[in-house]
Amino acid sequence: MTMGNQAERQPSDEALRSWVSALVDGEAPLPEASLRSLGQDGLREKWDTYHLIGDVMRTPDLAVQPSASFQQRLSAQLAAEPALLAAPARRALTPKGKWMSGLAVAAAVACVTWVAAPLLMESGGETGAPGVVAAVATPAVPAAMDVAFTDYLDAHRQLSGAAGGYRMPVSWSDEGSRH
């Protein structure tokens, strides 16, 4: 490790390269901030070379490197492209910092929105066929209803035995505490 000021602890080149090596294997996290650090000091070159080594070990035919002009032209064209602003695909983060792919969310409503049934479906007249609730949101959703949802959820959890949080969370913080 390079000796430096306590105040500015720069990781050594060795530590950085070792980090890139682990990154290639998915065993190190990407930096929270931008990936600019990977563009510096030949670290990008390391990323390239380490991948080349793996590719060649598995398939000798991949022992080729594109020309320098390929890299340049692609970089130039990429720079000219507008930056993307897509909403990233919804995913969840495990405590280890790895993304889980493929966790789709059906009926993904993070907060409770009361969707009113058509008035025709008023009590008395059900034939037993499962009702289909039309997606017409009532404008005036009483805030009180959101809180009550938590109460019912808690009550269900208590009686059904999901107290360990395995089936339902103990509570969601922004719903206020129970009465």
Partner: protein, 200 residues
Amino acid sequence: MKAEREIDAELVERVQRGDKQAFGLLVSKYQRKVMRLLTRFIKDAAEIEDVAQEAFIKAYRALPQFRGESAFYTWLYRIVINTAKNHLATASRRPIPLSNFESEESETFFEINGLSDNHTPESVLASREIALAVNEAIEALPEDLRTAIVLREIEGMSYDEIADVMACPIGTVRSRIYRAREAIATRLKPLLDAGKDRGW
């Protein structure tokens, strides 16, 4: 490999949030595979690079629609095939039966010796030299470094698993793989530097 998908997914997410650097990293990772794929449709080395570039830019523009339903490379693979098809169609070349190339698995049936004769003698030489250099470098490694990198790159094991097999801490696994890579990279450096001027 699971870790593969995760890193790719993270990089894709960064690109989708506007980080172009992340796309550059994905390009570095897959450029060789993309080019090798294109050699089955296109003979000329310069043309391969043109089409590869076109495919990567198409992929960049299509990334907002990528929702992680498949692995990134699988998705990229299809874009490359389509770009190649269109290129051949506009250049009015003789159509190649492309049904053989639709599946990613067909890539692995590539001839082992085989760089096909689509390449200029110079670039063939370059490939063989690189492959030989990697081979020699690995043979020259001390056994613990060699085992570590083989388990990682060939067996596809995670650091955890390698630590189990080699009965050592994970930090040691990480260090061994890194040192193995550096040793091989040192062997490769003169070839890679020379190759940059030569082109493909």
